[in-house]
């Protein structure tokens, strides 16, 4: 991927539907020892930078997994189960096989060999306990829509037509898909957060109490791009797999395990992804089916799921959240009990942390957290943007709002009174926590001080106006990753790692960091990613990619610079005779003395002198041990709703999201992430819900006409503020990821605003007009 399409555009801080303010965009370069050196150089880091892959995407040059054409391509179509649980009794593919152009119909009975042990199917993102689902493995039906056959044909239309001719008989068994029906049988899963004090006793004794149950339904990710794999089989039995995935190396290892292949025999590519939101963290069944097809036909095979089949993979688990908050009359919390009951499958125990977030946000001497799972006859639930926090913090922040009402306290004031400067779960200080600043700047930008605290007190014509707010919190993670830099004598820099860019802007920030560190214009940087043969990189999740990859690039760049210095020292009249690695920088295509850049030698001259065409270095990132610190991003979200009470129409007319996430590498792409997250949060609050007919265990709105996400008309003004958050502890760049923090708290802010507007509390998401009406 060439970066010559990039335009550096420092003024372009405005994105669709929103504006992004970067308090720290200019002042982002911090005075750590390592960064002193870069101060004199052009700094792409911190500058709003357009996507380097933008032009390729909008012109169609960027090819996605389902778009790659190879000669002799075979097309697959998957047949899904129509019962939720049971066994396959008989599969009759005779009619399908008779269709001209149909090459084969694979089922569990005639497929190529697959591994017979659970370990082989356990990918990097698999839950620790349970037996991962094995696609097309045996006659057992674990969920409705599970693939039971793969039709392979010379063209897509034939495959799809023949797929409907495959007749499958089942012996159905009793199933359960309703969390409410199964909550009684939910079991406790261990979570790291320990209880503090005696929450039950403290709650009973508290001056002011609030206790309630909240509900979040199953939601599906609905990325624009469908799951797709194109598997190219070569005569020596090697496979090149183009896959829609958030982790090429994860899929590579998984396929090696499932098919007993040597690592060299499988390459997985995913140069572009049309959205993931977590759905692509685990290998999905289409990649296994496509490989089965390619192996059995010894030909290249493509399989693309259809939209309905996109509802047969992972999802945000429906969760019942119970909160019990006890406070002193002044608002200081005495007791927090947070209990979650979430959905998982019958075969794996997927869970994330819903319940511990209050320990990071609010001081309370007593706290108890319980996380339970209910096993349902559905696919295993999975990660969806800010898993655990999007749901758990919704409940926590709606409950805090209810507590504020009971206390007759301003909701922001309540949060400030409970503000915790330590992570109480771990009893650790934070590397940084500028949440107070988020509250202050968010409130100011929103105009919160003009809020009349009385519900139903604000109006605009026929509409009731409501202002609500909530806190957001997420983790600031960084993982081991490795990057390679290849410097060519002409100053061109290639930077590579096996990351995915799921649309977040990874290409762009990699180019920015490499350009800064190598002292070259960003147009001279080529970024390679999404290829399993590149240096190791974890799956793109948890908002950890930017920090992980950036520091690997810095490491690799430093090594390249070290090598240039080594060569330059041998040049006649070298200005670097006594220079140490830290004394030199790369800037404007030259190796120069830090602090005296006039003393420099062009990189080209150095390389000519050393008789080297390329300098190539691979480096793992390294971070100081920060296990004695809690690492989090924070936000404060303010929302205005306008409600036509008689009819029940709810409009989110304004939102301000003030985010503290360390230093922002690229305010433009980071701002996109937060704006998109706020839209996702509005969807959670008002629209999104996967509807299952529990009598059949079948999803009834498996399409994007009836599974509602917000459309343009639902989205108005969204303002994003990145507050200044210097962090000299977390990593050399002082940065944290921003892919998920933006959604956390949004649904609560909307729900709280609806309460403020109407005096009605709907705790069941999504807040549709019938639920509001029931309360009116």
């Amino acid at each position: 991927m060439s970066t010559d399409v990039n335009r550096r555009d420092p003024l372009a801080t405005t994105v669709a539907f929103g504006s992004i303010e970067t308090a720290n965009a200019q002042a982002a370069v911090q005075a750590t020892a390592q960064q002193q050196a870069s101060k004199s150089m052009s700094s792409y880091i911190g500058t709003p930078t357009s996507r380097v892959d933008g032009r390729a995407k909008v012109t169609g040059q960027a090819k996605y997994a389902g778009e790659l054409n190879v000669a002799g391509l075979v097309y697959g179509s998957a047949v899904g189960a129509t019962v939720a649980k049971g066994r396959i009794v008989r599969i009759n593919a005779d009619d399908a096989l008779k269709v001209p152009g149909v090459l084969d119909v694979l089922t569990h009975q005639n497929r190529p060999r697959m591994a017979d042990n659970d370990q082989a199917y356990r990918d990097d993102a698999a839950p620790e306990s349970g037996a991962p689902y094995r696609p097309l493995y045996d006659d057992r039906i674990l969920f409705n829509g599970q693939p039971v056959a793969l039709v392979l044909a010379e063209d897509w239309e034939t495959a799809r037509y023949a797929a409907m001719l495959v007749r499958v008989e089942y012996k159905a068994e009793d199933h359960v898909t309703d969390l409410h029906a199964a909550r009684g049988s939910a079991f406790v899963v261990e979570k790291p957060e320990k209880p503090r004090g005696d929450a039950a006793k403290a709650f009973a004794a508290a001056a002011v109490r609030h206790e309630a149950e909240y509900f979040i339904p199953i939601e599906h990710h609905n990325p624009m791009e469908l799951f797709a794999s194109t598997v190219v089989w070569s005569d020596d039995g090697k496979l090149t797999v183009y896959d829609k995935t958030q982790g090429v190396q994860n899929v590579q290892r998984y396929l090696c395990g499932v098919f007993g292949l040597k690592s060299d025999d499988v390459t997985v590519m995913s140069p572009f992804m049309g959205g993931g939101f977590g759905s692509g963290l685990r290998p999905q069944y289409q990649v296994v089916l496509a490989v089965l097809g390619a192996m059995s036909l010894k030909r290249p095979v493509r399989l693309v799921l259809n939209r309905a089949q996109m509802y047969g993979v992972g999802y945000r688990p429906a969760t019942i959240e119970r909160l019990a908050l006890g406070a002193r009359a002044n608002g200081e919390l005495e007791a927090i009990t947070h209990e979650a009951i979430a959905v998982t499958s019958q075969y794996e125990d997927f869970s994330r942390n819903d319940t511990g977030w209050s320990g990071i946000l609010y001081k309370s001497p007593n706290a108890r957290y319980t996380h339970k799972l209910a096993r349902l006859d559905l696919p295993t639930s999975g990660d969806m943007r800010a898993p655990g926090a999007a749901t758990g913090v919704y409940a926590l922040e709606a409950a805090m709002d209810e507590l504020a009402v009971a206390l007759k306290l301003d909701p922001v004031e309540l949060r400030l009174r409970c503000y915790s400067d330590r992570d109480q779960n771990e009893d650790l200080p934070f590397t940084s926590k500028s949440l107070r600043e988020c509250y202050r700047q968010g409130a100011e930008a929103f105009g919160w001080s003009k809020r009349n605290p009385e519900p139903r007190s604000m109006r605009d014509g026929k509409e009731l106006v409501g202002w609500g707010m909530a806190t957001g919190v997420w983790e600031a993670l960084q993982m081991p990753a490795s990057a390679r830099i290849v410097l060519t004598a002409n100053g061109h820099t290639e930077v590579a790692t096996a990351a995915s860019d799921i649309g977040t802007g990874t290409y762009t920030i990699m180019a920015q960091v490499a350009a800064d560190r190598m002292g070259v214009p960003i147009d001279n940087v080529t970024v390679r990613l999404g290829d399993s043969t590149l240096p190791a990189c974890p799956i793109e999740g948890g908002s950890w990619i930017a920090a992980s990859v950036s520091h690997a690039i810095i490491g690799a760049a430093d090594e390249v610079r070290g090598e240039l210095l080594r060569i330059a020292k041998t040049m006649p009249d070298t200005p670097f005779a006594d220079a140490l690695a830290g004394d030199v920088v790369l800037t404007n295509g030259k190796l120069a003395r830090a602090g005296d850049v006039a003393r420099s030698v062009p990189i080209a001259d150095v390389m000519r002198h050393g008789k080297v065409e390329h300098i190539e270095r691979i480096k793992d990132n390294t971070f100081a041990d920060i296990s004695k610190y809690a690492r989090n991003t924070h936000s404060a979200v303010f929302v205005e709703v306008k409600i036509d009470e008689e009819i029940g129409i709810i409009r989110v007319t304004r939102a301000v999201s003030a985010v503290a996430a360390g230093r922002i590498l690229n305010p433009k792409t980071a701002g996109n992430q937060v704006v998109g997250s706020v839209v996702g949060g509005i969807g959670m609050a008002l629209h999104e819900e996967t509807l299952i007919d529990h009598a059949f265990g079948r999803i009834m709105n498996a399409n994007i006409a009836e599974y509602h996400v917000p459309v343009h008309a639902d989205i108005h003004d969204i303002k994003v503020i990145f507050v200044d958050e210097p962090d000299s502890i977390i990593n050399p760049l002082g940065m944290k990821g921003v892919g998920e923090i933006g959604i956390v708290g949004v649904a609560a802010a909307v729900a709280n605003a609806i309460y403020h507007a109407t005096g009605k509390r709907v705790r069941d998401l999504p807040i549709t007009l019938d639920k509001l009406q029931r309360q009116l």
Binding site: I649, H687, D693, F696, A705, E706, A713, L769
Partner: protein, 338 residues
């Protein structure tokens, strides 16, 4: 999607001849509904007769002061047609409230009338559905029926007709012109769609051999006092939970003629002659409107998830009549309800 033969109709006569010869064939116009249904295997026509190139695309004034709209006029063109915007703004408004720009560009006037229900169970061929497979039962009655009907339902089917355009056509007393083997005839829009009864598989009164050629609007367009209010789960691009078309002819504050039709509540655009009679001669005010709403909904019946529609429809009727009376029709561009 099954394999099908594709033929083009040369003219209306040819179209009729072709469809009469093959009872399982289907006309295809914009294809925005039919192709979807074919992908879901709900419709499995072995043959498609493409009528999209027939010259039924004009909007012409009739001698009686009305308008004749060709069956293949795209929904977008119809909504933006100057004569429609001027004389029948309620029709423009209803069309603009539906679907998306891209769909409206493709969708035809005739196809909009004949589009099928969005009932979840109708779309899922693994489910019992009397409309799709007569005699198989109705899974929606005990299922997820939030979007289903509250008026005119039967034990066999509680589906709704999803069109917005047709609700406006119903209040305008439009007529459907159709041509079949035995010649042409007119069907009033209000008589075009059927109630499900025990034959829910038959959506409307179009005969197997008939093609819709045009819609005719009478002279009276209610341009002064009208409104189309659509209530849905998001602010655009969703089918109506309840929609109301109201058209009034006022004379010094009293209602000379009042028309009222509902969408999203029944197997057809729901007009209540009785409610309209109750409007006649009355003051255009809240009590009159509430009384009309009572009459419309007197026999309404919910099926669990859709119980809320009854009360919602009541409020929506009153609001829409108020908008119409005040000459402040709901704008489809403004997502705020007036």
């Amino acid at each position: 999607m099954i394999k099908f033969q594709y033929d083009r109709a040369a003219d209306v006569t040819d179209a009729v001849r072709q469809i009469a010869a093959d009872p399982e064939a289907r006309f295809i116009a914009g294809g925005t509904n039919l192709i979807d249904l074919m992908k879901y295997q709900v419709e499995r026509p072995p043959r498609l007769i493409d009528i999209s190139r027939l010259p039924l695309t004009s909007v012409e004034e009739t001698p009686g002061g009305g308008l004749r709209i060709g069956a293949l006029v795209p929904n977008t063109d119809l909504a933006y047609h100057p004569l429609v915007e001027q004389r029948y703004p309620i029709l423009s408004s209803a069309i603009m409230s539906g679907a998306s720009q891209q769909l409206r560009n493709m969708a035809s006037t005739g196809g909009n009338l004949v589009q099928r229900t969005r009932c979840f169970y109708f779309y899922d061929v693994t489910m019992a559905c009397n409309k799709r497979q007569p005699g198989s039962g109705c899974a929606a009655i005990k299922g997820i029926n939030r979007i289903n009907a509250i008026l005119g339902t039967s034990e066999s089917c509680i589906a709704t007709h999803p069109s917005d355009m047709c609700v406006a056509l119903a209040v305008l007393d439009a007529k459907v012109h159709v041509t079949g083997l035995s010649g042409s005839r007119e069907i009033a829009v209000v008589d075009f769609h059927r109630l499900p009864g025990d034959t829910p598989q038959i959506d409307n009164n179009l005969r197997r051999d008939e093609i819709i050629t045009a819609i005719e609007l009478p002279a009276q367009g209610f341009a002064a006092n009208h409104s189309y209010l659509k209530i849905r789960d998001r602010l655009s691009y969703a089918f109506a939970l309840v929609s109301v078309a109201a058209a009034l002819e006022l004379e010094s504050g009293r209602i000379k003629t009042g028309r009222l039709a509902l969408g999203g509540v029944a197997h057809k655009p729901w007009r209540s002659v009785e409610a309209e009679a109750a409007l006649r001669g009355q003051a255009a005010g809240p009590e009159t409107f509430a009384r009309a709403a009572e009459i419309v909904l007197r026999d309404a019946k919910g099926f669990g998830h859709n119980d809320f529609k009854i009360d919602l429809a009541r409020r929506a009727i009153v609001r829409t009549l108020t908008q119409a009376a005040n000459a402040t029709p709901q704008s489809q561009a403004d997502k705020r309800i007036r």
